[in-house]
Amino acid sequence: MDFLAFAFIQRALLASALVGLTAPTIGTYIVQRRLSLLGDGLGHVALAGVGLALMTGTTPLPWAVGICVAGALLIETLRQKGRATGDIGLAVLFYGGLAAGVLMASVAGQGAGGLSAYLFGSLNTISTADLWVVGGLAVVILLIALGLSPQLFAISADENFAKTLGLPVRFYNYLIVVLAAVTVTTAMRTVGLLLVSALMVIPVAAAQNIFRGFWKGLWGAMAIGLLASVGGYLASIYANLAPGAMIVLLAIACFVVSWPISTLLHRDWHRSRTAHGHDG
């Protein structure tokens, strides 16, 4: 464990832990709303921000956050106006972001290769300044996503009913996609923009297999996300392999293992359900 003395490894571990906690937290609401691939699309949009930063010679994270949030607001506006029923508008936005990112990177003289650290993550190169930004954003995301969890659950589960509770549904809908956009961009240096959606969805799916109930599933998804992120990064050091890929593969392993665990844990429920019978 001597490698833990290296500052860059400490920074990488902390960053992966933060992303491992935040991505499944937001992912829980995204999955509940059946928008599992939203993170993937937002990752494409964020690339335009990275390209813009490369072109202007500035720090990528603020640009990526700004562009990704703007894209998320546009997506939600289209959804609320009922104009996102087809895939076309979303596809134009997502692939337009990707193309714009690649184009601006090539204008900056870096080509598509200049984007690879953001597409696939680059945990070992995270600076102290990056870590402060990622840490600050992660704290804000967790405070909002956990503090408002009853409201966010209500609108994710049943939007119409939430309106009849007097909740500001439109505001909370925008809040969820903005939090998703910020989460995507904070994760771009860890698992990368192409794999971030996996960390938002797979720990949630695994937790829903094991834990019964929304809130138990939320905490379970955070625990599995943390395990996959920190465990995946440590495994990548031992095996000298790409950290982002290891993190996602470990999350998938958790998901696969969750099936037999689910069967064992919920066997009693199947028995009692058969015994009590159903109406309707």
Binding site: Q32, R33, R34, L35, L37, R79, Q80, K81, G82, A84, T85, G86, D87, L90, G147, L148, S149, P150, Q151, F153, A154, S156, A157, D158, E159, N160, F161, A162, K163, T164, L165, G166, L167, Q208, F211, R212, G213, F214, W215, G217, W269, R273, H278, D279, G280
Partner: protein, 246 residues
């Protein structure tokens, strides 16, 4: 004071008039059945009353115009079916979400848990709190939605075909529990169910207009209850919710 007052209410979807110039009022304590053929606009009217769809005209709930209405904890809404995404959600979590209007910060305390238990007992589902909503039968799921709608013991309950798939014994139990709340009740009825006996008044919609307003149990054929709605109206009514299909 009227529990519900509607003046010149109209709803248009896709250029087609679904509700046309409705005016009526429901007094506090009334139990009113809303009947009509498929596509006559019953669900659209319910959604307009709750501000869930755009409309023209004025709606007043419990004495306050809808656009200024804030006492949502006084309203209980039971939808026709949950347009919801409730996988991996327990029965108690679904019902507890109905208490959110009373709690600005949203977290549950002992008082909310007691209300959830009371509501589930009223619909005959006590002891099912920790079961997953999606693991219940269709009839049991509908009873959970009724529990969610009555968990605050509201003054005004609006129900859209609440007993679809619910067995007769449970219907009777739920109807008795609701009667005990002394609330004003507007209920959309499609089939004969346990609430029909409790009605004090019936409204019948036909093609978006009020065809009957009076004593319960009108002769159905006289008011077009069994007419089939025009296909275009039916299509619009079933597709009025914005959907995300990606």
């Amino acid at each position: 004071m009227s529990a519900i007052a509607v003046q010149h209410l109209s709803v248009t979807l896709g250029g087609l008039p679904i509700i046309q110039d409705l005016t009526f009022a429901i007094g506090e304590g009334e139990t009113v059945g809303l009947l009509g053929a498929n596509g006559s606009g019953k669900t659209t009217l319910v959604k307009a009353l709750l501000g869930l769809t755009r409309h023209e005209g004025t709606v007043t709930l419990l004495g306050t115009p809808l656009d200024r209405f804030t006492a949502w904890d006084e309203i209980g809404y039971v939808p026709q079916r949950a347009s919801v995404s409730l996988h991996s959600t327990t029965v108690a979590e679904v019902v507890a979400s109905g208490t959110l209007a009373r709690r600005p910060l949203g977290w549950y305390g002992g008082r909310q848990r007691a209300r959830v238990t009371q509501a589930l007992t009223a619909v005959g589902l006590a002891g099912h709190e920790d079961e997953l909503y999606l693991h219940l039968s269709g009839g049991q799921q509908q009873r959970v939605l009724i529990a969610r709608g009555i968990v605050n013991r509201p003054r005004l309950i609006i129900m859209d075909e609440p007993f679809a798939g619910v067995d007769v014994a449970s219907q009777t139990q739920i109807a008795a529990a609701i009667a005990g709340y002394s609330a004003t009740l507007l209920v959309v009825l499609h089939e004969t169910d346990a609430l029909e006996a409790a009605l004090t008044r019936t409204l019948v919609l036909a093609a978006g207009t009020l065809a009957y307003d009076g004593a319960p149990a009108p002769a159905p054929d006289a008011h077009g209850l069994h007419e089939t709605a025009a296909p275009e109206r039916t299509r619009l009514l079933s597709g009025m919710e914005p959907r995300w299909t990606s």
